[in-house]
């Protein structure tokens, strides 16, 4: 997202905070893509990712008065999406045997026809790698690598200490290195 987009989002967020529905609708359309991308990489489930993204925006509207005007609106949305996704993953983890979590295949990618059509080898590799990471490392890696957020911003979103965030990121990159070697990435 460019500087102009950032300014536009900030302006719309200010209006939305004052209850401006059209401004919020525009924010939904502007930020739906990065939110879906985040929830998809986190869950590896096409439909679930979209459901979580929608719930993220609905919650954002309900809690819009708690948004601090001086913060980045997209970071605030990432936090909502992250919490929703993490809650969902925790629920699933409680329901599924812990031993099988890390090795779960990207079920939806294989079973969802729409996802299948859009799926690339690249996506499959990334989703497979994401499956190797615990959720905390996964979100840190995602926000850093794909959203280009600073460690300070990630610490804010995840409500973790910056040092903890850096540790998560280093561990994720180390796992990526091993994963790449296993897969024979060149």
């Amino acid at each position: 997202m460019g500087r102009n987009d950032d300014e536009k989002i900030a302006g719309l967020a200010t209006l939305a905070k004052d209850g401006d529905r059209p401004a919020f609708s525009e924010l939904v359309r502007l930020l739906m893509k990065p939110i879906v991308a985040l929830t998809y990489r986190m869950t590896r489930d096409h439909d679930l990712a979209r459901d979580l993204a929608q719930e993220t925006f609905i919650t954002a509207w309900e809690k819009i008065e708690t948004f601090r005007g001086d913060a980045r609106f997209d970071s605030w949305l990432y936090r909502i999406a992250y919490n929703k996704t993490l809650n969902h993953l925790d629920r699933v983890r409680r329901e599924v045997s812990p031993d099988t979590i890390g090795d779960q295949p990207a079920v939806d990618v294989a079973s969802n026809p729409e996802a299948n059509l859009n799926r690339s080898d690249l996506q499959a590799d990334i989703l497979a790698f994401a499956a190797k990471l615990p959720p905390q490392q996964r979100i840190v890696f995602d926000l850093r690598f794909y959203k280009s957020m600073s460690f300070g911003e990630i610490a804010d979103v995840t409500e973790k200490a910056e040092g903890t965030v850096k540790t998560h990121y280093r561990q994720a990159v180390e796992k990526l290195r091993h994963f790449a070697r296993e897969r024979g990435w060149r």
Binding site: K33, A37, I126, F129, R181
Partner: protein, 199 residues
């Protein structure tokens, strides 16, 4: 920085673009760290970008419409809940509670006093004594069969007593009811009359 520090830094800088000059200088002279940097660069190229995972525009619109609809519903529910405000029943403050025992006692006293007053008004003849009496005092002197002098209350005495009782009970306390009779009158009444029967 030594190799360990460089490698830690390479991990943290993964995905952020250009490397600082100090690290690049180190990589030129360190095969081990250079190998790590190459591996990371390969992985980075393979990971693609955020927009590789973006839904297409029509799907975004579909999702956004659903969000709009859900928010519309939330807002309409808010409006509805404002329209049908539940009736708030304010609890009666203890001092305003008319059924408190204190008020019941007062009400009972008022009814009793009023009833007594009405009995005094309609049941008792309070007309002045007839001409047959020797004086207009409350007690008449009579002579008994043994010629002993005795006191006997006349009708007026009884009527005034009842009337006095009723008036005093209406406006004051019961302790003032008989305050205006003399000791002799009181003793006589206690000896010869039953107040309950009189009332």
């Amino acid at each position: 920085m030594n190799c360990t520090q460089i490698q830690q830094e390479l991990m943290l800088l993964f995905g952020t673009g250009d490397l600082p000059e100090e690290i690049r200088f180190h990589l030129d002279s360190c095969p081990e760290c250079r190998d790590l940097a190459t591996q990371l660069e390969t992985a980075q190229n393979r990971l693609g970008d955020d927009d590789d995972f973006y839904p297409n525009d029509s799907e975004v619109e579909r999702l956004a419409v659903s969000v709009d609809a859900a928010i519309d519903e939330i807002e309409s529910r808010k409006i509805e809940s404002r329209k049908i405000e539940p009736i708030k029943i304010e609890p009666v403050a203890p001092s305003q509670n008319l059924l408190r025992p204190k008020y019941l006692a007062i009400a009972a006293a008022v009814v009793l006093a009023l009833g007594t007053y009405l009995i005094g008004q309609f049941s008792i003849d309070t007309t002045p004594p007839s001409a047959g009496y020797e004086d207009d005092s409350y007690f008449s002197t009579v002579w008994s069969e043994t010629d002993e002098e005795q006191y006997e209350p006349n009708d007026r005495a009884i009527g005034m007593l009842i009337s006095d009782y009723a008036e005093t009970a209406r406006f004051s306390g019961a302790d003032e009811i008989l305050s205006d009779i003399t000791v002799e009158e009181y003793d006589y009444m206690m000896e010869n009359f039953d107040i309950g029967d009189l009332l």
